[in-house]
Structures are given as C-alpha cells and as structure tokens.
C-alpha cells in the first residue's frame, strides 16, 4: 500500500482514435501502479488490429518515480518490439523534468 501523504488516484484509459490508439494515464505512477499500466498496454499490444501508432499520453501525470519511468520505457520497448511507432504525449512539468534528469528524454519520440 502506498503511503504517500495525499494519494492521487492512478487512472489508465484506452481510446482508439482512427489509425492510432491513445492510452492516457493520470495521477501518480510509481512502483505500486506500474503493473496497471503494463496490463493496459499489453491489452493494446495484443489486440487483434495492430494500430499504426501508439500514443502514451502522460500529460495528466502528477508524479513519476524511478519505477514509473521504467514503466514508460517498457511501453516504448514493447511497441518497438512489434514494429509500431511509439509517441509520448507530455506537457512540461514533473514528468519532463524527471526524464531530463534521468538523461532519457531523447529516447522518446513526442506526439
């Protein structure tokens, strides 16, 4: 159980948008929530119709820890493994700052 002072619920939502699929996540993505993102992502990856592009929209994320960042990298690697372009949709804030400190901002393509 997370013990963060104010628990912001973590929410994953999947939206098919024409030729691409958009997965939106919001709240706090940490060790306790990693698995929820992975299972939503696997559902998209393994669905019958492979989308042209996969977009992970993290603009609603308020907090990301090192496990959360790993989860984003895993999503990227899983998309690339099935040959689907992966785009991260993000607005400047805690997520972009963490990706910059971690030196991995160039590892993502952005929507």
């Amino acid at each position: 159980v997370s013990e963060s002072v104010e628990d912001i619920p973590f929410v994953v939502r999947t939206e098919p948008c024409g030729d691409h699929v958009r997965v939106l996540i919001s709240g706090e993505l940490d060790l306790h929530r990693e698995a929820e993102l992975h299972s939503a992502w696997e559902a998209v990856i393994s669905s019958a119709e492979t989308p042209q592009r996969l977009v992970l929209d993290v603009s609603g994320l308020r907090f990301l820890d090192s496990s959360g960042m790993r989860a984003l990298l895993v999503c990227r690697d899983r998309a690339h493994a099935i040959g689907v372009p992966f785009l991260l949709a993000v607005t400047p804030g805690p997520v972009t700052r963490l990706l910059r400190i971690a030196g991995v901002q160039d590892w993502f393509d952005y929507a």
Binding site: E3, S4, V5, E28, L31, R62, F63, L64, D65, S66, S67, M69, R70, L73, V74, P94, R97, L98, R100, I101, A102, G103, V104, W107
Partner: protein
Amino acid sequence: VNVVTDEAQRLAAVRRYEVLDTPPDGAFERITALAARLFDVPISIVSIVDADRIWFKSHHGVDVPEIDREPGLCASAVLQSGPWLVNDARNDPRTLANPLVAGELGLQFYAGVPLTTHDGYNLGTLCIIDQRPRQLSEAQVASLTDLAQVVMDELELRLAARRTVELESQLRRSAEQVARTLQQSLLPARVPAVAGLDIAARCHVANTDQVGGDFYDVVPDADGGCAVVVGDVCGKGTSAAALTGTARWVLRATVAEPWTPARALARLNAVLVRAQEQPGDYCTAALVRVDPVRDGRTTVTVGLAGHPHPLIVRTDGTVEALGRTSPVVGWTLDAEYTDVAVPMTSGDLLVLFTDGTLEVVAGHGATDDREVRALLAPLAGQEAEAVARALDDALGAVPLQDDAAFVVVAVQ
C-alpha cells in the same frame, strides 16, 4: 469422527478457529435464514459454546447475541456426537429447567447438530427452535446435519484462508528482511580515510516495503585520489540488491586502474545491460573522481548517469551544480557518458545525493535542487560531519517515502 469430550481441549479448538466475537457475516446469516425457511421455524442459530457462555455467530429470529451456558440445549448438544433433539421441552426432564424454556422465550422445540471439526471437537451447534412442540422426520434431521456440515466447511475454509495469509505475509516479511539486510550489507562499513579530504556519508532507509534503493561508496583509487559514488537502484528485492552489488564491485574494479568517471559508467552500463538478473532494473549514479589533494587543491571530475547533479559549496557560500546529464545505466548499450572537471580548494564542499534526499528537502516529486542549494549555502566552510548532520536533521523531520543517501566531501 469420534468426538473428543475433554473440555479444555475443546475450548482450545474454539480459540483456534478465532470465531468468537467476530462481526456478523453474510455466509452464516444465509445459512440460518435458509434453515428457518426450510424447517418452517421462527428461530435458527449458529452457536459457539465458550467456557461460560453460548455465543451466537448468527441468530435468525432472535435478538440476543449470546446466552449463559445453561445445560439442556446447545451446551448439552456439544457433548453429543450426533443431533440433540428436544421435541417437547416443557415436558422433557433434560430441558424443563432451562431459562429459555421456563422463561419469556417459551421454547418448546429444539433440534441442534454439533459443529464438529475435522479433528473431532464440537465447537457449537447449528440449531433450530420453535415455540411449539414439533417432531422432525429422519430426512429433516439429515438435512439439518448437512447444513451443520456446510457451517463447519465455512469455518474450516476461513481458518485455512487465515493460515495461508499469515504464512504468506510471514514469508514476504522474511524475504523483505533478507533483501533489506543484503542491501545494507552492500554499504561500506566505514568511510576510508583519504589524505587531504574530510568525508561523511549516510544512507537513510525508508520505512516501506520497497527494497532496492540507494547506495554509496567511497574507494581510494589507483591514481592516489579516491572515487565517490551515490546511486539509486530501480528494482525490488534480491535482484535489486544483486544489481547494487554488481554496480559497486564493477566500479571498485574499474578505479583500481587508471580511470575516468565517464569510462567507468560506460563500462558499468555494458555490464549491467548484459548481465541483468531482472530485465528492466536499472540504476542512476553520480560518480566523482577526486584527484590527490596537494596544498589544499584538487580537481574533481564528475560523470552523471540519470542522477541529480552533485553540488559544490564554495567557501563564500556560492553553490555550483556539477556534471552533464547522461542516461541511466543498465537499460541500453546506446548510452554515452561525459566527464566534467572542476577545481576545488581548501574549505570547498562537494555534496552528492540521491533523489530521495532531494524530495525530502524540496517536497514529494521534486526534481529541482533549489531547496537543497538553499540548505547547503549557509553551511559553507563547515566540516563534512556538520553538513551531514544538517542533512540528517532535514531528513529526520518527515517519514521517508524513499531511501535517501548522500556523501559530503570537504577539502582540507
């Protein structure tokens, strides 16, 4: 099953099932409601016979939660190995003195089947009660016996589930303990003495189930100076501890020969990517080479791998961030690291820390080191231990969400 009649052992069995004084529970409520309907009686009870009372796990058609342990009804039924049937209680010598019979309730009919554990103890009964005399058919007695077995199955299931949960949490606790101990054993027992430097280091461990976390190391190197590293492993349990151990020993081996931080991080990255026990674990690190101190002067060279910048606090209180941001180690071979060298002189402080330290000083989720700089600036020129204590105080003020490690190096 032969019923065991030793009362002390029977009571021990009652305790073992941990059912006394538990809140109402849907499964048992449904069974008593079903029994009342099935046998067309106003009252049905799942009773547990305690030392000095009969407690009702479920009581359909009667409000009292427990009664005294008077002989004649449930208290007598638990001494039997089969059903206890009282068809006309007012005229039955076994029960006519019982307060439920003589008193307000006016009980005239009682049929109770003992709840017998798999090892032969009667915990209580499933009983049905009416305010008029009745007689059950053989088939009805068999049905009541079957229902009592359903109650007992339910109790056995709960006991087994509780035992499984306890066992699992015991196993988890001991696994976490092992991982935690392993992780802590990876920290140096003490910081080595290095000529011309005054060094203090800490690792504050967060009180969470997440094992992994922070490490630091201080090692004299082949060039007569020393290597200082703080790192943060992303991963859990023993695989994270293994990664920490690998990281620490790769760095120790690397600095035993002429080295630079960027080359050491590239080598560590290659080892971790190829030798990862748990795919997806990675680590961040700030690695600093401190050249041998001569006449109060030295050069520090910093390599960063996805880690907050180390800070230098000059004697005049100015604070500088060191190093060029480069990727975390252990994820991909496609990562490059850069050395950045800066001179330091007597009285200057070098502070390496993990994001756990940053978050405590600056708030949950913080990535900005402004607050850490503000905390350190007034400590310019102090001894390493004094600076470490000031950071200890800041970290001790709140419960830690994450491990927090730091190393303070003062040039003498």
